[in-house]
């Protein structure tokens, strides 16, 4: 063909993946969050190897041993023992499993519900949008802790009930964020181009729209995970979450509260663990938001 001058300039700009990698490692909060969360996940996975004690086994002769930095500590129990003589380190390490499991699964359930609703509302608009917006408003009008308390009080507290209740209650932010993200993307011309090509609605949503809004989804998912972990701790503290003798950080705080004035480390240790985990997850979410936000403008 009569070639017009070929637009032959070198590709200098890096690919989106390379750009993302560069931004991630330049963001210290994000690196810190990822590292700490990764360590906690490893601890949860390898808790039996690290703990050295059974978190359930009681030893009434060795009750209330203080942790290693206090006088009278027992080198066998680095973080001491609780009022039933259970090793506090073992309970702490096994408690990480409960917190992470509840965070992951609750965020997963609510993420599926909220994403489906939000994407449907944003993409189809009209009546679907009206219904979903109404459901979001109904959900926002319900106080999470009170509803969770009521349901757990009726069904009885167990890990499954707590996870399910939290998963069914925390989808609102997913729905709101996904709806507005889809609204931003759905009228862009590459979506129109896909329609003109003859793509099915499923393909348009899954391969044209979702990849461009999944960063928002990840950010909300991390924040909701932290939210779920804190709510589980709160419910367990109130005695309506995970039931004893399961090692849960909220339950450990609850059990330590009678002796708070004399043995403050009983609640300080699980409290600090909870704080570090939630901080790490929030830093991760914030960092992901910072790192992925400018991408669609590039």
């Amino acid at each position: 063909m009569g070639t017009v001058s070929p637009a032959a300039e070198e590709i200098r700009a890096p690919s989106p993946a390379a750009l993302l990698r560069r931004r991630i490692f330049g963001h210290y909060g994000l690196v810190f969050g990822i590292t700490v969360l990764f360590i906690i996940i490893l601890i949860a996975l390898f808790a039996p190897l690290l703990a050295g004690h059974d978190p359930y086994s009681q030893d009434l002769l060795a009750r209330m041993k203080p942790p290693f930095w206090m006088n009278g500590s027992d080198p066998d129990h680095i973080l001491g023992t609780d009022h039933l003589g259970r090793d506090y380190l073992a309970r702490l390490l096994y408690g990480a499993r409960i917190s992470l499991a509840i965070g992951f699964i609750a965020a997963l359930i609510s993420g599926l519900i909220g994403t489906a609703m939000g994407v449907a509302a944003g993409y189809f608009g009209g009546r679907v949008d009206l219904v979903v917006t109404f459901l979001i408003n109904v959900r926002l009008a319900m106080p999470v802790v009170l509803v969770a308390l009521a349901v757990v009080a009726i069904l009885g507290g167990s890990l499954h009930v707590v996870v399910t209740v939290l998963g069914l209650l925390l989808w609102d932010r997913f729905a709101v964020v996904m709806r507005s993200s889809v609204l931003q993307v759905r009228d862009l011309e590459y979506v129109n181009a896909a329609k003109a090509i003859g793509c099915s609605t499923r393909r348009i949503i899954l391969s044209e729209i979702m990849p461009n809004i999944v960063n928002n989804l990840i950010v909300v998912a991390t924040l909701e995970m932290a939210h779920a972990i804190l709510l589980e701790a709160a419910l367990s503290f109130l005695g309506l979450g995970v039931q004893p003798p399961t090692p849960s950080w909220g339950l450990m705080i609850s059990e330590g509260k009678q002796m708070m004035l004399f043995e403050p480390w009983l609640i300080a240790i699980p409290g600090i663990a909870l704080f570090i985990l939630v901080l790490a997850i929030n830093l991760l979410g914030d960092g992901l938001r910072d790192v992925t936000a400018p991408e669609n403008r590039g």
């Binding site: 017009v4 001058s5 070929p6 637009a7 989106p16 003109a196 003859g198």
Partner: protein, 326 residues
């Protein structure tokens, strides 16, 4: 002037599109006539340029043509057969779009190869090896180096992106390409390259273009026929050479006069159009153009103008009807 009597490849028959517009929370929805009975014919290898101001309904017409929106009334016929809006996939093989903004018409998360090959994947044409070959051929055809195929849209310039969009539109060998202002988002130097590319591809592949633009110079360069649109209606249609040599409708004249010249001694041209584009929710009575027309008469304010045909075109204006001529 080759006005064949054969069946047109693409025909728009009295397309009407009405939107219901709500102004205010409790106000009743009012109809907005975006398109009021647009009829156009497009013959094989023609380039029909559609010109008009922003907001006159050009892009709405393109969306209806592409099946992205359904017309309120009227039909789109390809080869004399009516297009069923539900059969988008069939239409897609014959008619493909090139959009205005190459920055938003390519999915930023997909590689160039995936973007260009998407039509083949969706229509289940060929296997991955033959698709890859087809992509290589298209890249060559639109003048892009083969190495961009692994790249992403953010690595390309505006002109390169528009070339990718053209490659995607042409990979299924459509007969008709709907170009919705394909150069207006590009630099002037790149505009010329893209227009030349479109011209070359038309020669080479025997394409038919439905070319929407507000830039008359672009239309003059490429089009064989020109339709002028004002407020959702075609006010004049003629062969390109005839229209540019002898514009008949006062609006067409004003548009041609409004073209900016690079001569710094000349001031901004006065089109006598005034600044106000009428509100399409309550269009003017009679001839819709009369509030802005330099040659307005009494009859224009009350009676919609007749369609006055001449060889190969028509103009909707009282000036050329016998009754008002004197």
């Amino acid at each position: 002037m080759t006005r064949t009597t054969t069946r047109p490849l693409l025909e728009l028959a009295a397309i009407t599109k009405t939107y219901q517009v709500k102004q205010g929370l409790f106000a009743k929805a009012k109809p907005l006539n975006a398109l009021g009975g647009v009829s156009l014919c497009l013959h094989k290898k023609d380039v029909l340029g559609l010109v008009g101001e922003s907001g006159c309904g050009k892009s709405t017409l393109a969306k209806i043509l592409l099946g992205l929106e359904a017309p309120t009334a009227g039909k789109v016929l390809v080869d004399g057969k009516e297009i069923d809006p539900r059969e988008r996939r069939h239409l897609a093989r014959r008619l493909q779009p090139i959009f205005q903004d190459p920055y938003s018409s390519l999915n930023p998360r997909k590689s160039i190869e995936d973007i260009i090959a998407l039509p083949l994947v969706v229509h289940d044409i060929g296997d991955s090896a033959s698709r890859s070959q087809a992509v290589a051929r298209m890249l060559d055809l639109v003048g892009l180096p083969a190495r961009v195929r692994r790249g992403y849209p953010n690595q390309l310039s505006g002109g390169q992106r528009q070339r990718v969009a053209i490659a995607r539109a042409l990979i299924m060998k459509p007969e008709i390409v709907v170009c919705d202002e394909p150069t207006s988002a590009l630099d002037v130097s790149v505009q010329a390259q893209i227009l030349n590319l479109l011209g070359d591809l038309r020669e080479e592949l025997g394409l038919t273009y439905f070319f929407i633009s507000h830039n008359l110079a672009v239309v003059e360069h490429l089009a064989t026929r020109v339709a002028v649109m004002y407020l959702g209606q075609i006010v004049e249609e003629a062969a390109a050479a005839a229209l540019f040599a002898n514009p008949r409708h006062p609006y067409t004249k004003a548009l041609l006069e409004s073209v900016l010249t690079p001569d710094p001694c000349l001031s901004v041209p006065d089109t006598h159009l005034g600044a106000s584009y009428p509100n399409p929710i309550s269009p003017p009575s009679g001839c819709r153009f009369h509030p802005r027309c330099a040659q307005v008469r009494d009859i224009c304010k009350t009676t919609p103008p007749p369609r006055i045909g001449n060889e190969g075109g028509h103009v909707d204006c009282h000036l050329y009807s016998g009754a008002a001529a004197h």
